[in-house]
């Protein structure tokens, strides 16, 4: 790999100390048995079908047109959206605008290895997936020949990053007052054997990607959904799953996306309410100032009159 002269680099042979810890190379079975305790609860105490609590807010980045922040315990995602700008290397007339999506991990986002600054294939794949998921919801025909930038930064990653990124982008777009067909929310599921982990953590996702030697189901599915129009904006699966399982998970995911929706709805309505209040306050202040100005004017005019007299 070529050396990056624009940053400070550490020694080339440096490796994370976690490589030398006792639990670096655990066997599949060990990892598997750790996921669920005797009572059928997950490592973090959740039930199998319980999503993590989600903290949502908009207006996170003061310099962006619209922005959002989503936190699902260990997964923290920031998204900001900027106004349309011209497409640099475009020479053909188009009737629709473009979405430019970039997903990046913080160098310290992953537990295991430090993330390189150079975009890796996972970041590129996430960017493509994000673009696919938010594409159907943005009214692209309104900004033909221009592009809207959507940047997602994953501060900390503990599973379901894509789902969090999509939901955050949907909120940030609405926050930026980009005309949209619908609010988009996403949710993901990890499947290991006959167990379905809703809103998986990094460990659960990691294990779901490894195939056990037996021919059992394993995989991760992420779905993005337009809640008002009841359409599926994106569906991506990886792993190896049979058809019954996929169909079952599709239903579950639809419900999960539906569950996220009210949170986004509430946030957006909250901002409109605040906005109305703010507007009122401003208009009152404005009126007060106007009155002051009028007084001053009268005073001043009378002084002219007096002077002339």
């Amino acid at each position: 790999m070529p050396l990056d002269y624009k940053r400070f680099n550490g020694p080339e042979d440096s490796v994370s100390y976690k490589r030398f810890t006792a639990d670096y190379l655990k066997s599949y079975d060990e990892l598997h048995s750790e996921l669920i305790d005797e009572t059928g609860h997950r490592k973090d105490g959740r039930a199998m079908d319980e999503a993590r609590p989600m903290y949502v807010r908009g207006n996170f980045v003061s310099q962006a047109k619209g922005s959002s922040y989503i936190e699902m315990r260990g997964t923290k995602v920031v998204c900001s959206v900027f106004d349309p700008r011209e497409i640099v290397h475009q020479n053909e007339f188009s009737t629709v605008g473009l979405l430019f999506c970039e997903v990046k991990f913080a160098p310290f986002a992953c537990k295991r290895q430090r993330q390189s600054h150079v975009p890796d294939s996972e970041e590129k794949a996430l960017s493509v997936a994000l673009r696919k998921a938010v594409g159907p919801t943005v009214c692209c025909q309104l900004f033909a020949n221009f592009q809207i930038d959507i940047f997602v930064y994953i501060i900390e990653s503990d599973g379901s990053c894509l789902a969090a990124a999509i939901t955050a982008a949907g909120l940030a777009l609405a926050n930026a007052a980009v005309p949209m067909f619908d609010v988009v929310t996403a949710s993901s599921v990890a499947i290991i054997g006959d167990k379905i982990f809703i809103d998986p953590t990094e460990d659960e996702e990691h294990l779901a990607m490894i195939s056990p030697d037996t021919n059992t189901n394993h995989g991760v599915i992420t779905m993005a959904r337009l809640n008002g129009l009841m359409q599926i904006a994106d569906f991506r699966q990886i792993g190896s799953l049979d058809i019954e399982c996929i169909l079952k998970v599709t239903d579950i995911l639809e419900q999960e996306c539906q569950k996220v929706f009210p949170k986004i709805q509430k946030t957006l309505v909250g901002y409109v309410k605040n906005g109305i209040m703010e507007q009122k306050r401003l208009s009152e202040e404005g009126k007060a100032r106007e009155a002051k100005l009028k007084d001053k004017m009268l005073e001043w005019r009378s002084s002219i009159v007096n002077n002339s007299v």
């Binding site: 810890t21 006792a22 003061s62």
Partner: protein, 281 residues
């Protein structure tokens, strides 16, 4: 309407405020923005801090790695700090490799930390010529609203102060490395550098010094970034840098240095209380 005016005629808009002895966000010329610190909010990092100075938000995450020390300096470890100005934090920055400005900021922050000698690099060596710690400090700006260096230094120092190193055993014969995360030793941090940014606004008859400028103020003072950065470390004056902008008179220079000294004490207190509270938790 104000916004339109600000957009169309920015210099006049700004001038109007300055003439009334007030800044557009309502602060006095010397007034700093509030500092908020949150420590160890990111569990995937070995140590972390989130710092907000007004709107400016910087996250620092530290990742520990092990490597063989350099042959010419076999008994010292590595402290690598980088500042990342993301495209999402402001429309000024584009995706791709770091811009010139980002590299300058990265350099300033790294220089301040290395020069302050707050971390003795010899402490980072595990076995001479064989194994040493590499501390990667990644500073990420999430919201760029001026005085980025101040926030970066606070975030970096706070997270260094909360960092502890796991114990490492190195077998000289088999060259096998074992790390025990159960026993951790806090990293020794000597001193506490604090940087304070100023903007110098050109105005007749006297230039005006703006402490802790916002992004808009920095722009009005000429170009992106602060004009003047003053650095104090535990009551010791340890650096001053001036970049472009207007000329600085001697009395202004003295005033900024004393302002920075006051601020240094305040910030120290904030960091100390924050770490204490964190430990109590």
């Amino acid at each position: 309407m104000t916004e339109v005016y600000k957009h169309i005629h920015p210099s006049k808009y700004f001038n109007d405020y300055i003439n009334q002895d007030v800044r557009p966000d309502g602060r006095d010329f010397d007034q700093q923005r509030d500092v908020i610190i949150n420590i160890n909010g990111i569990t995937s990092a070995d140590a972390s801090a989130i710092v907000k100075c007004g709107n400016t938000t910087v996250v620092c995450g530290i990742k520990l790695e092990l490597a063989r020390p350099k042959a010419e300096e076999p008994d010292i470890g590595f402290l690598i700090s980088n500042v990342e100005l993301l495209p999402l934090c402001s429309s000024k920055f584009r995706p791709g490799p770091p811009s010139d400005y980002a590299q300058v900021i990265s350099n300033i922050v790294s220089d301040i930390v290395i020069n302050s000698k707050c971390v003795d690099l010899k402490d980072l060596c595990v076995v001479t010529d064989k194994l040493a710690w590499v501390i990667y400090c990644d500073l990420v700006c999430l919201d760029y609203d001026g005085s980025i260096v101040d926030a970066c230094i606070i975030a970096l120092i706070t997270s260094l102060k909360t960092l502890s190193l796991p114990t490492v055993t190195y077998d000289n014969e088999t060259e096998e490395v074992k790390v025990d995360t159960g026993v951790k030793i806090p990293l020794q941090v000597h001193g506490l550098p604090v940087a304070t940014s100023f903007g110098i606004y050109h105005k007749l008859p006297r230039n005006i010094i703006l402490a802790d400028p916002s992004a808009y103020e920095e722009e009005m003072c000429g170009g992106i970034g602060a004009n003047l950065i003053v650095c104090w470390n535990k009551g010791l004056f340890c650096g001053i840098q001036k970049f472009g902008g207007c000329n600085l008179s001697t009395e202004d220079e003295k005033r900024t240095i004393s302002l920075a000294k006051q601020r240094c004490k305040l910030v120290e207190q904030v960091i100390e209380t924050c770490i204490k509270n964190g430990e109590v938790k």
